[in-house]
């Protein structure tokens, strides 16, 4: 709910560069430049666009990509937090890639035109939509989340939501427009393999053609008189047709049945090379009866059902001469069926052809802060995401051997960092700063790398699509930034021979295949070996929480909603002393992180919490922690449990609900599991219940306990209580803030003790 915490805003901005990159940039639009058309690709022009793209990608020096998603985080607590450990960060990215849909995919190949000494860019903007084309695939891939904030963001840029789902087709006969699905669907490699495997093992039930020669045709006992009569009639009709077939050829080709009324239902034709009756106009029940009749009475007739696309579906009774002939028919039918099914699977691959193209051409892929994008590409077009970042990057590098991230390049390369002069490295601000000749149609200086954009034989040397925020344009901007950045770091395209790959260029070697695991943490992961690289010293000022000791962190949730981080800190200071807690971070309205100064305090706290819950005597009631435990729903766990919760596929908006759904267990289990992790410490410091209490009574919270006790007994000290209430009231004003210093708490403590 606290979407507007500054940190959260920054985090989501970082995570979703795709959504927020140009939010802050004021882009003056030049009329001529902005009128340049977009290359939009939907289902209707996909085939043609793909063929063209193949040509461009093959000739390209590098390909820039960008994705627009239906959202980034399914809940505030899923946002990447400044102190998240890298494995947790990966789980958050994984969850995002699994739950959200890609709705736009921008691909922009860049080719160096040595004759004109300029890059030529071919931006493509694909509208894609996860539509289920094959019935056998697991339904969960076709359910995705929209984040209302992201939609609002896209809406601000006049995003056309209809375009990714439907488009209008004017049908001839009707006045009303006919809507067809416009988003290009896709199958991941894994899904395709799965579909083909099912096809081979023959256990899919939606076979498009089946021979009913075996006994599985559903035994329906003939009980109703109507069924018996109908079956008898069909038997006669079929044997008539059978006899007619075997007669020496007469002139009349069409079979004339004895009864006229049902003539139109029996139509002789050739199925492949066998004579057959096409059964038209029967209900499914009648067809089942005919099937039964054929099986029981005719050895040389076979019932065949050919399921075509959409409504086209044939039911046939086919004549075969011999058993061999019949086996041949069955083989043919199955082959036909197989071919059809394979074709259908091929067609369902859809947009993945583009990703396969990028992968097979092994071109240098350029993205801007693209870890999430790559995760999406992997999840949507390759297969389920691996459970750890290391496995993920090693698989990614198999498919995309060369990836370069312009955000990392701008932030880590010495020359570029100087040029950026600490200005923002968001996509659009970097574009305006580095490529004014393209964005503002400035006269190109010598140092500028020229780029011409080409869409459907139209060319322009500048392109500013103004407010429009879409993947095709973003990919174009990313490519331009990269080209210019290469120019600045001394790669001279004029000397660059076409055979030489940019990916092999030694000036880029230090920066290639590095991605920000999270921009907020400046955690960089190396795709080639999975190593995590910490950003350079100058950049680590971002890392506010670099000193987080995860063993000392406890996660608490389900406490009374009026308690804020500050109150909780007070509870702890009173229990364990003022220096016991180094920070309290409110993750969402239902959960906080607490970092203790010592690892031992984690187990102390967890066991104390358990004891307090069990006991209901006055001492427990008056204990400062009891405020935290009020309501009986308060739970606590270690950072490891938090990681497990992040890894669950469930997406609840409030953390407390998520934890409950994850656990589905008693609260003690959390404490227990945490305790086992702490076993070693506990063994060294056995804490018996009594000793805890004695200890605590002498702790600084004693004073308040005494007051509370007197209050309990009805002897109120007005001034004191007033003061206390005032005090605790103050806390909620800054409740949402991160309290990462102990000073505030110490002050109040001093006031009270003095």
């Amino acid at each position: 709910m606290n979407r507007h915490r500054p940190t959260a805003a920054a985090l989501s901005r970082a995570l979703s560069r795709a959504f927020s990159a140009s939010a802050s940039a004021a882009e003056p639009s030049s009329a001529s430049a902005s009128s340049f058309p977009q290359k939009l690709v939907t289902r209707s022009n996909f085939e043609a666009a793909l063929a063209e793209l193949r040509r461009h990608v093959r000739a390209a020096d590098f390909v820039a990509v960008d994705l627009e998603m239906s959202g980034v985080t399914s809940a505030p607590w899923r946002e990447s937090l400044g102190f998240d450990r890298s494995d947790v960060l990966y789980l958050k990215v994984k969850h995002s890639a699994e739950k959200f849909a890609v709705i736009q995919f921008g691909v922009c190949p860049f080719r160096w035109d040595s004759s004109k000494q300029t890059f030529v860019a071919y931006p493509h903007n694909f509208y894609i939509f996860p539509r289920q084309e094959l019935p056998t695939i697991d339904r969960s891939s076709y359910e995705f989340i929209w984040q209302t904030g992201s939609i609002d963001f896209l809406a601000r840029y006049q995003f056309d939501f209809n375009a990714c789902i439907r488009e209008e087709m004017l049908s001839v006969c009707e006045f009303e427009p006919n809507w067809v699905i416009s988003g290009i669907s896709y199958l991941s490699r894994r899904q395709e393999d799965e579909a083909l495997r099912r096809l081979n093992s023959g256990d899919e039930d939606e076979s498009s053609a089946t021979c009913y020669n075996s006994k599985d045709a559903g035994d329906i006992p003939l009980v109703a008189m109507a069924d018996i009569l109908f079956s008898e009639r069909m038997k006669n009709r079929l044997s008539e047709w059978h006899d007619w077939l075997l007669q020496p050829r007469n002139r009349e080709f069409q079979f004339q049945g004895s009864s006229n009324d049902s003539k139109q239902k029996f139509q002789t034709l050739f199925f492949m090379m066998w004579p057959a009756v096409n059964l038209i106009g029967f209900t499914s029940h009648q067809l089942r009866l005919i099937q039964l009749v054929v099986r029981k009475n005719f050895k040389d007739l076979t019932y065949v059902h050919v399921k075509g696309d959409n409504v086209f579906s044939q039911h046939l009774v086919v004549y075969t001469d011999s058993k061999d002939d019949r086996d041949l028919l069955i083989k043919e039918v199955n082959n036909e069926h197989r071919k059809r099914a394979e074709k259908k699977i091929q067609a369902a691959v859809g947009f993945r052809h583009v990703v396969d193209l990028l992968s097979s051409e092994r071109k240098l892929i350029v993205g801007h802060n693209c870890f999430l994008d790559i995760a999406h590409v992997y999840n949507k077009f390759i297969g389920p995401l691996p459970s750890t970042a290391e496995e993920f990057v090693s698989s990614v590098s198999k498919y995309f051997p060369h990836i370069i991230d312009t955000k990392i390049l701008l932030n880590t390369h010495q020359v570029l960092r100087q040029r950026m002069k600490k200005s923002k490295t968001s996509l659009s601000s970097a574009f305006t700063l580095l490529c004014p000749h393209i964005s503002l149609s400035f006269a190109a200086l010598e140092s500028y790398v020229k780029v011409e954009v080409e869409v459907d034989d139209l060319r322009s040397s500048s392109w500013n699509s103004g407010a429009k925020h879409d993947a095709g344009y973003d990919a174009f901007m990313t490519g331009c930034i990269f080209a210019q950045a290469c120019g600045y770091i001394g790669i001279d395209f004029k000397l660059h021979s076409p055979s030489e790959s940019l990916a092999e260029n030694e000036k880029l070697q230090k920066h290639i295949n590095l991605l920000y695991l999270s921009w907020t943490n400046a955690d960089i992961i190396d795709l080639t070996n999975g190593n995590k690289v910490t950003a350079s010293v100058e950049y680590s000022q971002k890392k506010r929480y670099s000193n987080v000791v995860f063993e000392n962190v406890v996660l608490i949730w389900g406490f009374p909603s009026e308690l804020k981080a500050r109150h909780i800190r007070e509870c702890f200071s009173k229990t364990f002393g003022v220096t016991s807690v180094t920070f309290v971070y409110q993750m969402d309205p239902t959960a906080v992180f607490v970092q203790f100064s010592k690892t031992k305090l984690v187990s102390d706290f967890l066991s104390l919490m358990e004891t307090l819950e069990k006991n209901n005597d006055p001492i427990s009631v008056l204990h400062p922690l009891s405020e935290l435990l009020k309501g009986g729903n308060t739970r606590a766990a270690t950072y490891e449990t938090y990681k497990q919760i992040c890894g669950t596929p469930i997406s609840k908006v409030l953390f407390a609900d998520q934890a409950e759904a994850f656990g589905a267990k008693r609260k003690t289990d959390f404490v227990e599991s945490s305790k086992t992790a702490m076993d070693t410490q506990e063994d060294k410091n056995p804490v018996s219940e009594n000793s805890v209490f004695v200890d605590l009574l002498s702790a600084p919270w004693g004073e308040k306990a005494a007051q509370a006790a007197s209050n309990y007994a009805g002897k109120t000290k007005p001034g004191m209580i007033d003061n206390l209430e005032n005090d605790s009231f103050h806390g909620c004003l800054s409740g949402d803030e991160i309290l990462n210093s102990v000073y505030a708490a110490e002050e109040t403590q001093l006031v009270r003790t003095s």
């Binding site: 979407r3 076709y142 359910e143 989340i145 256990d203 267990k665 209430e725 009231f729 409740g735």
Partner: protein, 613 residues
């Protein structure tokens, strides 16, 4: 308003039953109209367009679901998915005439107040979106012009977050006995108020006015609320609020207290506004009421319509009331409570009469298996003579594009036909301010209450309706079987089990729930238990059953299924979920108490019709 009439004898739905399309732009002016229509009608029909329904075959409501498990399923879907269209149709029935006023509201959970409400994120199923797209649903219109809303609970939270002052509604407790501390506090407060008041009322010295004002502001915290002087009195507890109000009571002719809510709930301060006279005070209070009304409209958005229906206390007709009302409850009232009983009792004061058409349809036996409204209507047209005249109050407006929300008229139509066929209600019982429901309708009213209280009577009644092919089965006689590998049919399983000699085929029946799991029903008491005992004590197993168990066959009682739905564990395959529930069960055994055995109906259809919903 011109009245458009259409006589319907055939089943074909006329192309243009004009439904008034309401978006953000025409919402405010449509409110008065709908209010009038609701109050002049006898019933209100609703039909919702959702962004998804269920994620796996077994997640839908199945014939063997009890009220509890059905509610768990409906709850999980209502919590995840979103409403894009809410079609609403106040209507009246007079003999065979149906007077309807259909509206279709386009909804979108836009965060109008920038508070992260009403919804941070929601799920969509691409199948639902594509079928909406085929009908020409305009997603841009929905996202750009859809009406937003806040649930009742969110409204309360939003008001606190926004922190607008509200007039005090606190009534000072009569048994109010101030302690010594209280008295000191009150004295101090009183003198402060008096000083401030007299300062404000002093004849104005024009020369020093500005200076005096800023001094006052500095020293006494005096400010202006609109054109009237005001002062903020900070409070630290609800008790202090009481004390402040008690003090202010003495000055009630001139002073108006406003409560300023704290971010964490409760009250942060009391703002006292000084009116120049008694009339001015009344005028000011009126002004406050108007402002609050405006504010509320902004907060509630579409929920205003829900509140109108609720306030009218008219019976609400829905096709599938459990699904629809779990959505309505979670989007417009409050988060769904954990159990169906709590749900029913939370819903009852808001919607006292909810009529379920699909339930009513079951009374007409052949309609039992019909799962869609047009088919049901055409069946009734062909088999019964029950003409219904539909009179729609709106003019068709050709330029409005697609006519969405037709389904709600179909529901009205079906309902009218059923009432006519079943001879339910003459106009006398149906109209009038206090709604007297015909006894026959009672059966389909608040079905979620009916099933959850499980009164013996209602069950007996039901069985007379369901006759022949339905048998009453206790949940104790049901066993879930899974782990038999894919591609098995119910028939194969049955013959395999039959061969095992532990059960004979006459004693049980089996159906597939999804591809991973089957349900086994035993016709005699005790057999299910025996079977489970054999399955779970593997040493005793012999023969083909042993072979099956070695191959991975597992069995569990209905209790396990209940636990799956209660926890809930929504895996894609039921087998998977049951496995997980069993894994967890060890630590939970003490938690599940012996619940009263629930009874459900087992129909003798060949297969559980998985397309039923």
């Amino acid at each position: 308003m011109a009245v458009l009439q259409k006589r319907l004898f055939c089943s074909a739905v006329p192309k243009k039953w004009p439904v008034k399309q309401v978006t953000k732009t025409n919402f405010p002016e449509s409110l008065e109209e709908i209010k009038r229509h609701i109050s002049s009608s006898d019933f209100v029909a609703v039909s919702l367009q959702k962004t998804g329904s269920f994620s796996a075959p077994w997640h839908r409501l199945l014939p063997f679901d009890t009220a509890d498990t059905a509610y768990s399923k409906a709850k999980s879907s209502a919590e995840r998915f979103q409403l894009f269209q809410f079609a609403l149709c106040p209507f009246s029935l007079e003999n065979s005439k149906l007077v309807a006023h259909p509206y279709n509201y386009l909804l979108y959970p836009r965060d109008e107040l920038k508070l992260g409400m009403p919804s941070y994120s929601f799920s969509c199923q691409s199948s639902h979106l594509t079928s909406m797209a085929r009908e020409g649903f305009d997603f841009n219109a929905c996202i750009y012009h859809g009406i937003s809303y806040l649930s009742r609970e969110q409204e309360t939270a939003a008001k606190i977050r926004i922190g607008n002052p509200s007039p005090s509604t606190l009534v000072v407790d009569s048994s109010f006995a101030p302690s010594v501390a209280d008295s000191i506090f009150m004295e101090r407060l009183k003198s402060r108020v008096i000083r401030w008041k007299s300062a404000c009322q002093k004849p104005k010295d024009s020369r020093n006015e500005v200076l005096m004002n800023s001094l006052r502001k500095l020293i006494m915290g005096s400010e202006y609320y609109g054109s009237r002087p005001s002062i903020n009195l900070d409070v630290c507890s609800e008790r202090q609020v009481q004390l402040v109000l008690e003090v202010l009571r003495e000055f009630s002719d001139e002073l108006v207290p406003l409560l300023i809510p704290a971010k964490s709930g409760g009250t942060q301060a009391v703002r006292v506004v000084l009116a120049s006279s008694k009339e001015d005070k009344e005028f000011f209070e009126e002004e406050l009421r108007c402002r609050e009304e405006e504010e509320n409209k902004k907060f509630r958005g579409f929920r205003e319509v829900i509140d109108l229906i609720s306030a009218s206390q008219k019976p609400v007709v829905s096709y599938n009331s459990l699904t629809d009302f779990t959505f309505i409850h979670s989007k417009f009232l409050a988060p769904l409570p954990p159990t169906i009983d709590e749900f029913a009792s939370s819903l009852r004061p808001v919607f006292p009469h909810v009529l379920d058409v699909s339930h009513l349809m079951k009374v007409v036996r052949p309609l039992r298996k019909v799962a869609n409204i047009p088919v049901a209507i055409s069946y009734l047209n062909n088999h019964f003579f029950a003409p219904v005249d539909i009179e729609i109050s709106h003019q068709a407006t050709e330029n409005e594009g697609r006519n969405h929300g037709l389904n709600v008229i179909r529901i009205c139509h079906l309902f009218a036909k059923l009432c006519s066929i079943l001879k339910i209600g003459s106009s006398s019982t149906m109209s009038g301010n206090d709604v007297l429901l015909a006894p026959a309708l009672e059966e389909c009213t608040n079905v979620f209450n009916a099933f959850s209280t499980s009164s013996e009577e209602s069950i007996d009644e039901d069985i007379s309706v369901w006759t022949e092919s339905t048998r009453k089965v206790s949940c104790e006689h049901l066993v879930f079987l899974w782990g038999f590998g894919s591609g098995t049919t119910a028939g194969k399983l049955k013959s395999l089990l039959n061969k095992s000699h532990y059960v004979s085929s006459k004693e049980f029946d089996i159906r597939l729930v999804d591809k991973s799991c089957a349900i086994l029903v035993f016709w005699q008491p005790g057999l299910a238990e025996t079977f489970l005992d054999v399955m779970n004590n593997s040493e005793e197993i012999t023969g083909s059953l042993r072979e099956l168990v070695s191959e991975g066959l597992r069995a569990a009682s209905y209790e396990t299924y209940k636990r799956v739905c209660k926890l809930p564990i929504w895996e894609a395959d039921l087998g998977e979920s049951l496995d997980r529930a069993l894994e967890d069960s060890d630590c939970l055994t003490e938690a599940h108490s012996k619940a009263t055995p629930k009874e459900i109906y087992w129909s003798n259809d060949d297969m559980i019709n998985l397309d039923e919903l």
